[in-house]
Symmetry: C2
Subunit: 261 residues, 2 copies
């Protein structure tokens, strides 16, 4: 082993771009132990340290934590270890990427939804975001209880389509919040019921609604618990009544029809 310890910790820090504190820390946990000048206590680094630090940084870049890195560097067979763990690492990072993509999708959708619109009620935003978040689970559920084709139809919409539908639901929910409490037979209220059903139909498709009709209440509740509703309990109850009344009036009673979103 050579012993040309050319660098003080400051020089070494500048040369490698790693902060002094970090070097202290690596020394402390034994990951990169410096030589110490016995009289002054100052740390000294040499070429060997540069090489080792490069390894540390490379492995850190690949996502290993310092403990793992420590083990990999003492085990001489870095290679064997790497080959085994890299696959796991890859999977983990791919999961992270999927998550990131979902988040970015949610952010982008929310941005374009807010754009130009004034004062979107927060409940709606939340329900939108939650629905993006749970989209996969919902889709799986829907596929399980109906069919792949229906699930595809409901969830494979273009961005513009989605944006338009979301906008429609915003308007509707605003109406709900405006009219809540009014008697169900009020013409304005019944017009709302009509629009609400139309929108659900557009959102969820006719076949899906038909399939929904056949399910047990319990199953529907499972699904609803995944879908964040933008309404308060009060609003929800009122809307239930409004739509029930509307359907009875129009001879199409089915109490689950409006639960699409």
């Amino acid at each position: 082993m050579r012993n040309d310890l050319d660098f003080s910790i400051g020089k070494f820090s500048k040369k490698t771009g790693v902060s002094i504190r970090t070097l202290h820390y690596y020394d402390e946990i034994g990951l990169l132990k410096a030589q110490k000048d016995l009289s002054s206590g100052h740390r000294l680094y040499g070429e060997d340290h540069i090489v080792k630090l490069q390894k540390i940084l490379a492995l850190k870049f690949l996502g290993y934590n310092l403990e793992e890195i420590g083990l990999m560097l003492t085990n001489t067979s870095l290679n064997l270890n790497l080959q085994e763990t890299l696959i796991q690492q890859q999977k983990a990072f791919e999961k992270k990427k999927e998550h990131l993509d979902k988040v970015l999708k949610a952010i982008n959708q929310t941005i374009s939804l807010l754009d130009g619109q004034e004062d979107v009620p927060s409940e709606i935003l939340i329900s939108l975001i939650n629905n993006i978040q749970n989209e996969e689970d919902q889709r799986t559920w829907l596929e399980h209880f109906t069919s792949k084709e229906i699930a595809d139809k409901v969830y494979d919409k273009s961005d513009e389509e989605n944006l338009a539908l979301d906008r429609e639901f915003i308007d509707l929910s605003r109406e709900v919040k405006r009219l809540v409490g009014k008697p169900v037979h009020d013409p304005e209220v019944q017009e709302l019921a009509n629009k609400h059903l139309q929108a659900s139909l557009k959102y969820v498709g006719e076949e899906a609604i038909h399939a929904f009709g056949k399910l047990e209440d319990e199953e529907i509740e499972d699904f609803q618990s995944m879908m964040a509703s933008p309404y308060t309990e009060e609003e929800e109850k009122w809307l239930d009544q409004v739509i029930e009344y509307y359907m009875v009036q129009n001879g199409m009673y089915n109490r689950n029809l409006h639960n699409g979103k």
Copy 2:
């Protein structure tokens, strides 16, 4: 405000999928304060808490930390805040995504490099990873000191091309490590020098090498400090001599030629 506190913390935890311990924590930091049964001290949750927790989860999903979420939920104008901050959030996540992509690229390249190959020296792996990590900086540097065209040629290679080149460098470095210390005039050693120069040429291109020749030593050193070398200092010095001798023998002396990788 309604006061129908229907859930114990256990029920609430199951209903929402948030751990009891996390609910304790949110209560403690005042993010989601539960009602307390005064006689027992047990926490009680109701519908309102569900709604609020949904908001918290949605905002967490968008990448806000708990403090930010707390502020957003007390400020009634969730909306205004959102619209401003979402753009930042978007940028931050896009950066994260870029980083992730780089890491995944490094992992994938390393995996395919290790695949089928037995016992790749760790120094090479490290230098490969470091080079992916610093690719952007290197490219910027190269563009600055030579030209965009050259940088493009050096760095825009297909995956297969890169893999083949990396394999070649592995073989070469194995040879270096095998032959190190032998006299420079040994025919085997000179054959190595030849191959090394060929590989550098393929890797970096003729124009780039030409451009390199015009640079100051200092500038080259800057660049090299970004490129992790797979060699020890001893090997590096020996290789320098070998190649210098080779070039002198073949009437093409230029001491920077072999520094491509």
